[in-house]
Point group: D2
Amino acid sequence: MLVIMRDHATTAEVDHIVELLHEAGAEAHLSRGEVKSIIGVIGDREIIYSLELEGLPGVERVVRVLKPYKLVSRDFQPEDTVVTVGSATIGAGAVAVIAGPCSIESEEQITTTATAVRGAGATMLRGGAYKPRTSPYAFQGMGVEGLKLLRAAGDSAGLPIVTEVLDVRDAETVAEYADVLQVGARNMQNFMMLDELGRISKPILLKRGLSATIEELLSAAEYILKGGNRDVIVCERGIRTFETYTRNTLDIGAIAALKTLTHLPVIADPSHATGRRDLVVPLSRASLAAGADGLMVEVHPDPERAKCDGPQSLTPEGFAELMECITPQLAIDGRHLGWS
Amino acid sequence: MLVIMRDHATTAEVDHIVELLHEAGAEAHLSRGEVKSIIGVIGDREIIYSLELEGLPGVERVVRVLKPYKLVSRDFQPEDTVVTVGSATIGAGAVAVIAGPCSIESEEQITTTATAVRGAGATMLRGGAYKPRTSPYAFQGMGVEGLKLLRAAGDSAGLPIVTEVLDVRDAETVAEYADVLQVGARNMQNFMMLDELGRISKPILLKRGLSATIEELLSAAEYILKGGNRDVIVCERGIRTFETYTRNTLDIGAIAALKTLTHLPVIADPSHATGRRDLVVPLSRASLAAGADGLMVEVHPDPERAKCDGPQSLTPEGFAELMECITPQLAIDGRHLGWS
Amino acid sequence: MLVIMRDHATTAEVDHIVELLHEAGAEAHLSRGEVKSIIGVIGDREIIYSLELEGLPGVERVVRVLKPYKLVSRDFQPEDTVVTVGSATIGAGAVAVIAGPCSIESEEQITTTATAVRGAGATMLRGGAYKPRTSPYAFQGMGVEGLKLLRAAGDSAGLPIVTEVLDVRDAETVAEYADVLQVGARNMQNFMMLDELGRISKPILLKRGLSATIEELLSAAEYILKGGNRDVIVCERGIRTFETYTRNTLDIGAIAALKTLTHLPVIADPSHATGRRDLVVPLSRASLAAGADGLMVEVHPDPERAKCDGPQSLTPEGFAELMECITPQLAIDGRHLGWS
Amino acid sequence: MLVIMRDHATTAEVDHIVELLHEAGAEAHLSRGEVKSIIGVIGDREIIYSLELEGLPGVERVVRVLKPYKLVSRDFQPEDTVVTVGSATIGAGAVAVIAGPCSIESEEQITTTATAVRGAGATMLRGGAYKPRTSPYAFQGMGVEGLKLLRAAGDSAGLPIVTEVLDVRDAETVAEYADVLQVGARNMQNFMMLDELGRISKPILLKRGLSATIEELLSAAEYILKGGNRDVIVCERGIRTFETYTRNTLDIGAIAALKTLTHLPVIADPSHATGRRDLVVPLSRASLAAGADGLMVEVHPDPERAKCDGPQSLTPEGFAELMECITPQLAIDGRHLGWS
């Protein structure tokens, strides 16, 4: 950490900061210039992140040099983490394609979808049993009944299943049924849930919050790893910007940046990001071209009658076309669909 | 709801949409122009909000005319809601000033603060027992022990207390100690928590999410009212924008807009919004001038040693100056501090 | 400037940066830690702002300590700049109210408006002769004819006039007629225009760009002062965010921040910021409460038939009510309308 | 256009709107519901875009159905526009790679770069002679001298040249030297410049503004086409969001969306968007995968000593690697570099 003092800060002001630093257990290295003094601070991450010196007399700015995360960083672990989920793997060249409906609506709907996406090459099946909805008047999901249908559909199609934990109190129940537990964008900074999932022995798929920075996303993942669970997949799903043509703005630069910053697998969700079916294929391809380790795509056998996210859901045929598109693209990078 | 068809959409496309609407139980009124057809849709809020016709063949755009909320709107209840909390009231000209430290750190700290802010005119005491922290390496709060200290400090100073529920599993425990339960920005769309708080008989202070629209904030409040709890205070606390000089951008226009859209009391939190002590007074004044029914302000007896949010905390002296500033301002509007 | 090297950057990498700095004419002060090395850089603003070391081998981050502007800063000139324009002054307690239509449409329209706003207490008259319009199919203004009508209306009402320079080639012509030359939000970083206006001896009203940071706004003002023109008024007029209920988000925190960072007068334009008539009064009051030195407000005798910005224009009656609202508010701060 | 009236708007309010519409020369079609009335408006684009009914008594919302642009839309011209510039073409499967330094610094620098990028497969040469710089203390470009050096370097390498017009007064001069005239992000809504360029018979490369919506970008292009110049290339170069890890957020979804909305060629500038050399290759690949018709990439023979944008400039070797990466990618789509 660097504390940059205002021009001509007084000796008393500088000394006071140094004193506070010592009091907190940190080392202070002072460079006193004619106009500006700068204090270099060395200490444990816990101490550094508990110090808030902005706004003190004479302080102009505080620059944190130490990242707020450690276990998730490539500096800590240079080689890619590979997450294995039953028949599927992701990371280090193995690409996951997670497909399925926004919400589980009936046995027939989820079974049909599972068979179709399996046939086209998906490596995992997704489906929501508990749905976060902006309006209290919208469909909220089938609950445990949905989990059972999803489990059965996954088993019969031979696909591991991914589903969202919406309420921390349901985490154990969801973990009984699901192979991968998803944390939705709205819960990315539900720290209690992150703590809980750090103690569960199933992989976690962590979605980036609508207005979360890359650093905050990695700090959220750090909570889970710090709890003991190292199988975390992070997912870029669009950020909120001024542009309204697409529902959100898929931050593909963040995918490329995350690949340099963390060893964890990184996937993209172009369905939620755009909210528009016609953009799912180009943005799936773009995400993989930027280095994504996988995709999460909404597929529904009858999007017109979907209870949620119909406008962005591919039909099974549309999904098959997507898979045909991406196969040669993966090949030129020497990557492959993640079947273990 | 209006479904605007693309130019020269075919009769079959238009008919298909009309059919889907009827199937869902809604009425469809078709205006067929030479170039453009538009379908007006009438039906229950539940049906309208379950229909997602964007992206269907021939559909250009869907315009929702019905708001996603009802109980919180001024159309539903034109007169201001007044929330009474022990000695304090808020709404309809009664202004709340909620002051206290970001987090409860010790008995002395919270008692000193309580006495000081009470002396200066605060109407409620705030303090965090469970702290949401971006980094898992930062201070996370004192938990139940903190709740007890806050309760005691509030009682001794004669101030109702406000504190955050961070984990839905703690809601009942927090409700045992606190007078007002706060939902933090990161939990604004934690729908399970909103449901739970709808069943609790204590007022709720609901903070706007960092990237939540005004409509989403009101929809979140709607969850609580729909559950049966009508005592909700909404709080503007800054939104995330490209500007980094202030930590967030206090959306004072949203305060003025909310006063026209909802009957619920609206307050502002200039401390979290700016992250800078020197901006707390001007933005407190601006918020009240825009029509806010109250303020939530961080005060710490020794900000330099605060375990959290020191840079934005006022000293007791700074808080007293703020109170002196706002008193004449309230007077010119015929408003008063909310002592019941 | 500080160059923060990556953990365990090699000696060769560090030496290379030092060498580049010396080559550029800057001084380099190296602090070599066990893990991290940091290089402090001292030199002229021109040199510092020409150095771009981000991305070089071993470099983690570059922190600029020196602000990109100088003449506009309070460090350079602690006392408020007061701008005098004929009968009006602004700054150091003198508050400007600049009122008038979005665009000049006819002699009657501008004369009626001028008389009305003068009667209610406005200190300057505004009106657009050249209009920037998003769509090429919208009304583009009356041009020189409009300037003449504005001049006449201002003279007859006894009000100095403010109007926008849309094209750098028109700067001199506009300067012949107008008392204050406005730079619109879309031209805030039209550096050629800023250069030109730096050489003109009329005050400049510089609007913040839709997505300009506070630092960029001050850097734009610096261009004008560097050119020799010290009479600059900066104007917050709303920034673009994800919120769409208001047209833009009036960043009232920026007003308060600007008052600490610069000696230049700072005004607010709540009309353009919100695009909604019903929010103009609350946001005018809020802006003044945050410390603004003035307001720019759209007034039209017949907003329903205005050729531009009708929805946000006050009627003369609405404007008179606004003036009645703000008068007692200025009084409690010991401020006054800026009549010289 | 649809005018949606408030619930229970009075007959007088509705009639008044209808009257205003007739007065303006538009047709009004009224659907009066029990609760809500909606008025459909039909008329010329000029009339529709001059009507601003928001905020009138009884009006809840106005929905514009007609787009603010026409000539640039795919509805108007379904087939791709192909722009030919000397030896290079772009559009309809022909991909442009425009490479070169941020600014022209010397004969040797631009000649070396031209030869290198030509050798690696670039189809056009770029270089800035006039540089927009946030700080008045930064390098501002070589001016006409730079144009001459760029022209000579392009001629000798056999590459058409692209350069920015920063000042409308220089448009003709730049047009004498350059093959393609670039409008920078800060000038996207410099409507006077757009008008001027509409009358020039050279292709225009129009960059998206930092906070411009897709609709505003297309409206800006419409200005140029409306003036008579149909050879416009639009360029996504990153938008401003809350994320600061990358300089801007490259909106790759906008590229895919633009390909559906307009017939004009669409390119991406990953260098400016990210400001980071290590992200240029992944985002170049992603942009092409999303359907971009080309790339604009900064290349400098000695990025460490570049006078501008060094951190994001590729070396000639880095550029050659990029070209090797994208060649097989274009092949799988049946596309090719645009040599005519």
